[in-house]
Symmetry: C2
Subunit: 327 residues, 2 copies
């Protein structure tokens, strides 16, 4: 049994708890929180919720600590800090800052003689793996990543910050004609606008100027200005009823050529269609918790990513079973 | 530069030669053949074609030997034999015999202090990887593999053995409605007939009894009897013109549930659309030749499969480059 602890009990932490329930070689040992522990109710019978201030008291009762904080401010501090004391896994997803995060975590994981897996999830994570596999196989080609249809929390938050907005949900949607062109191996050159659209469902305060809100959304730099954006005003009831889920997904596609004169075309596609973004990410985290134990057992320490992990390490099955049934 | 040698210069061997041309860290050192070497013309300038009888004379000039023979009779002998003297890779694809093949190859690779990668390609190979990843992530779910639309050499050969048949091409086709149901996460139970159809293009000898040929095809046990099979008689000219390619592909799909009460559904799909089955397989072989060198450099010996190989080992890029650009 691998003893897992969760730090941070939000959507992701709860997802990890659910994923542990589905894997009989894992058990949830502790939930650590920055909140008052008595205010946090978890789903699993008998699991203790403990203040993060006391986490080091439980050092020897935990095989892998899963860090379920955010990438903006939590993980850049937490992962290097706790890699000194625990084998850790995070889902750090600020792509541009991965090299810096890696260096910080690697240093402290090596000092602590632990293993740390960072940027585990689906993007970065499973999408990254598929980019590397497809690029290694098809040397001459082009890469495409499409996201959605799915909820972008960052874009939803950006809308909520507009004056007169009570609530909002933003869906990122791939442009189907672009996806189809890529799937046909046409290797199109696509602008930002040609790849994704943005659908916004907005609850406005009574009497708010909807035209001004719509304009502010559509012209918001970085978030919306470069996209074809639609804004639909709905009631809070409708938002709660139809837009409560956190679905996401997308496709990584590589199209490339082979042959003496590059006469043959190939398309490799990896696609996800997810009802719950945090629960899927959590399921990936738990598979890599298993891998972390295997890597540690082989004497590895320091920071690693999904690119460093032999696929067999993720599975409950032995090498023999995998070769007999899955190869 | 990794020095590659090819044993067996058919479609696969020629594909490996083309893939080497696309990878500037690889060079083709030798082509070994069972035929008279003077009868074999290769595409790469200056590469020597040598009789397989003299292969051991070149032991020290080769980093990785890629075995391009067939799985029925060639590889079960060749891979264990040559793993004594070389780092080897094969694309052994008789799924049921992989454990036996693995054991034989492992023994001789360890004796010879070499690394041997078996069953490298797309199925087994990339499809296997995706089965393992998806199963490790989604514990509660169902697996589906669809093949095609693509040419099955085995089925084409079976038709050619029928009396009165001059030539034939058989395409395996997934049943689109079944694929769509799986993609919607419906987890249908599917019979063999519900998953694939078989399209046969047949050139009959003049005066042959076409009705009898069609009946023999459709009733052939194992190959066609369990499928909805269509037979179309065409001329040799038409077959040569429209059915000369060796396309293939397919999808590995896992659909599974997460959540405290398994309330959320997820679909993971990996799909290939290949103009040339042997050239794509060859491209996978070359990526794993790179990985074999990395594994050997780390001191690993014995038989391995794609499930044992860290994804980063397939790439020309360094760990730092991968983290900065691909993760």
């Amino acid at each position: 049994m691998t003893k897992i602890a969760i730090l941070g009990y939000g959507n992701l932490g709860r997802g990890v708890e659910c994923a542990i329930k589905q894997n009989d070689d894992m058990e949830l040992a502790y939930v650590f929180t920055r909140r008052d522990p008595s205010s946090v109710k978890v789903l699993t019978d008998g699991v203790k919720v403990v203040s993060v201030n006391d986490i080091l008291d439980h050092k020897d009762e935990i095989d892998v600590l899963i860090l379920c904080g955010g990438s903006a401010t939590d993980l850049p501090k937490q992962t290097p800090e706790y890699a000194k004391y625990f084998n850790v896994i995070d889902s750090f997803d600020t792509h541009a800052k991965i090299p810096e995060h890696f260096a910080n975590v690697d240093k402290s994981a090596k000092e602590g003689n632990h293993i740390a897996l960072i940027s585990v999830g689906w993007d970065p994570g499973m999408f990254s793996l598929n980019r590397v596999y497809a690029n290694s196989i098809l040397s001459d080609g082009a890469d495409y990543t499409f996201w959605g249809r799915g909820v972008s929390q960052g874009h939803s938050d950006a809308i909520r910050r507009i004056d007169g907005v009570l609530d909002a949900r933003q869906y990122t949607c791939p442009v189907e004609s672009a996806v189809e062109s890529v799937r046909r191996g046409e290797q199109p050159e696509l602008t930002t606008r040609q790849k994704h659209t943005r659908e916004c469902y907005v609850v406005a305060a009574e009497g708010a100027d909807k035209a001004r809100i719509e304009k502010e959304i559509k012209e918001m730099p970085n978030y919306f200005a470069d996209y074809d954006t639609t804004v639909t005003f709905i009631s809070q009831e409708e938002l709660d009823k139809n837009h409560k889920g956190i679905p996401h997904g997308g496709s990584v596609i590589r199209s490339g050529k082979t042959g003496w004169n590059l006469e043959n075309n190939h398309v490799i596609e990896y696609s996800l269609k997810l009802d719950s973004n945090p629960e899927f990410t959590s399921s990936v985290l738990i598979a890599y918790a298993r891998a972390a134990m295997r890597m540690r057992a082989e004497g590895m320490t320091g920071c690693k990513t999904v690119l460093d992990v032999p696929p067999a390490f993720l599975s409950k099955l032995s090498g023999e079973e995998l070769r007999a049934h899955m190869l």
